[in-house]
Symmetry: C2
Subunit: 413 residues, 2 copies
């Protein structure tokens, strides 16, 4: 078998049409960061933007900045930019709150649009917080809704006329499996089922065409592939055809038709703004905007292509260099069915991830035995994949993972 | 009548035990800022804290910062600090989300603690978003709850055995009226009514003793007297006796007993953490912590005393200098019944506020005719009050407010 060399990877980097984007991030030297699907890297420009925001806008202009620097317009303005990343119109997206809270808001709104249906369908291995939110809302409402959890391959059978909403995450957070958003949405619509997609693990790493697919609602995260900073505000999408009828779930003043009249009665804003709740988190939104602006410079088709190649490269090098060490692929082989991450299984997964950190490679572990490596195409090089697999080889060949301090304990990674 | 002079105010400043705190804020020169009850000023140290956070914690340590810099502990750590400002225990408060969302979460939790009662009582002139949230939740639940709005003086009559929750803001956002938190809480408890207080316009400007008063729940804002920055995260309080039974309203992963096991089933954390929802907004929390730390250096009794004096001074100087111009006091005269703001009425209120801005004095306007001046005792001087009233005199004597560009239009101030 022809073996790939590090030189081959360097050549791929030289030919990479996205190669210059790496310089737009402040990356620590000596580190290979394969966790951009948990927290995206720091864009050059974010520091300056935040410092100007704090020093001038907060410090000097104070309350006047709501108008002078259009703080008040941030949720809509940044939402409109995110819309371009996910195939939405600029009046269909706002940046606000957290993904979990947005999911809660939209799911409740969706259920009110289907008052005679009582079933919510989702995938058994959906991101846990999405399942918690669904179950929590069902309990809160006490209206006899029911969550029907099925395996991914049984989804289309699970959709019938009793189902109100299908709640799906486009890319599985562990296996990296990429669901067919268009096909599932079409199947749901054929039964009158509303679709609510969580784009947290896909948006920013691939083109998404929500409107072309006829998606009804979506939410997503600001701090993964959007590089919006730790705990960045999230976003939500509602298709234009639902904007008039989708009621706000949490009726806060920022969703009022005229927030600054301080009227005693709530009158929802005409458009997507009605799903705003409290005062916008200005610091977080400013950092998010820098990340989104940077992403808008990239051609998402090229981003996707590179993402697939990085994943293919990782799996091929793993087979080439680490065949002796008992890894199993835990993600789809076919890159068209895989998100921007690879996952492999190993019984010592936790310890191996810890030992890799010592080697300067950051991935993460997901119980019980998954090593997960995020492949952020904007700032990763092909040679980083080579070096990451070489580090994995070192860790395995030397048994560097087999140390007491790498024993698994409850932790945050 | 003995008239106060600017010299008298300078003397008060020299004797002010809190006088040195002003230097701990970065205040724009030439500006008198009487809007700290809308957006608090920038603490010295916030810029550096954020820059270090962005550069080192986000940029270099990346995902490792959740442990290395205890991002994961921020909601509890900052909550525990806020607890010291409001007479709570450190396990009763978290910093999270927005005030409106926290109110939604706690009100729903409170209603579930009183399943047989259907009435929510609040004050007719409560902050509008609080009323919107209540009405929105009632509609969402569809369980026949009812909002009973009464005048502040009729509150105790409105509390009976059918009432589940009393929702109150401690200081009225327009008039500055300070409600008797202890007395109202006592009256509510005598009828088995839970109390949910919004401290947004009081915390940080006066001592608050939630536990001494027996308050059940509270929420508050991070960006007013806490000086946490624009759109700072808010906080919530639940008395320890309710922690076991108060269910999380929005069941997100950060409220899970073990968030990082990614278990498919939701199991609420034992304590106050179960009311967390999504990933903590790290940038906003860091800025908030700087503001809270600064406030913790001040003796809140002295803060309250100065706040009352600043208000008394403003009203006295207004009467002394501006008697000819038709202002009416719109806030309580008795400083023990007034929050840290004054309010006066004038038919040309909007234009006057605009003209004052040109004179370097920032207050704000609340329809239909209220001029509202916030008095943040940490960074305002007595002489600022003198200069603010002198500016008001100039605006009125010269009719500087009477210009076409100061005509009222929909705006954000």
């Amino acid at each position: 078998m022809y073996g790939l060399s590090r030189d081959d990877c360097e050549r791929l980097d030289r030919e990479d049409p996205l190669g210059t984007l790496r310089g737009r991030f402040e990356l620590p030297s000596g580190l290979i960061y394969l966790d951009g699907n948990s927290l995206g890297a720091l864009p050059v420009g974010a520091r300056q933007r935040l410092d100007e925001l704090v020093r001038v806008q907060w410090g000097e202009d104070l309350i006047r900045s709501w108008n002078r620097h259009d703080w008040i317009g941030m949720p809509r303005r940044i939402g409109a930019k995110i819309a371009r990343l996910i195939g939405a119109r600029d009046d269909e997206v706002i940046a606000a709150d957290s993904t979990s809270i947005n999911l809660f808001k939209l799911l409740a709104a969706a259920l009110r649009l289907r008052p005679r249906r009582r079933i919510i369908v989702s995938e058994r291995t959906n991101f846990p917080t999405d399942l918690y939110i669904i179950e929590g809302l069902i309990e809160l409402l006490g209206q006899g809704h029911e969550l029907r959890l099925v395996h991914a391959d049984e989804l289309s059978d699970a959709l019938d006329e009793k189902v109100a909403v299908l709640v799906m995450t486009q890319v599985d957070y562990r296996s990296g499996r990429l669901h067919d958003l268009a096909a599932l949405t079409r199947q749901a619509q054929a039964k009158g089922v509303l679709t609510l997609w969580d784009l947290s693990h896909s948006a920013g790493a691939m083109p998404i065409e929500l409107n072309a697919a006829g998606v009804d609602m979506a939410v997503g995260c600001g701090y993964k592939y959007l590089n919006g900073g730790p705990g960045a505000p999230a976003y939500l999408f509602i298709a234009r055809r639902h904007l008039r009828d989708a009621q706000p779930t949490i009726a806060g003043w920022m969703g009022h038709a005229a927030p600054f009249t301080f009227a005693p009665d709530y009158r929802p804003a005409a458009g997507i703004e009605r799903h705003l709740v409290g005062t916008p988190p200005v610091l977080g939104l400013a950092a998010l905007e820098v990340g989104v602006d940077l992403l808008l410079e990239a051609d998402l088709q090229l981003v996707r292509e590179k993402s697939r190649r990085l994943g293919d490269l990782y799996l091929r090098l793993l087979d080439q260099e680490c065949a002796a060490f008992g890894f199993e692929h835990a993600c789809p082989h076919d890159s068209t069915r895989r998100g921007s991450q690879v996952a492999v299984r190993h019984p010592q997964g936790y310890a191996i991830i810890q030992a890799l950190i010592v080697e300067g490679v950051i991935g993460d572990f997901r119980a019980p035995d998954i090593l997960r490596f995020g492949l952020a195409p904007l700032y990763l090089r092909y040679v980083d994949i080579w070096d990451a697999v070489a580090a994995l080889h070192r860790v395995m060949a030397s048994q560097a993972w087999n140390k007491p301090e790498f024993k698994r304990k409850a932790t945050v990674t």
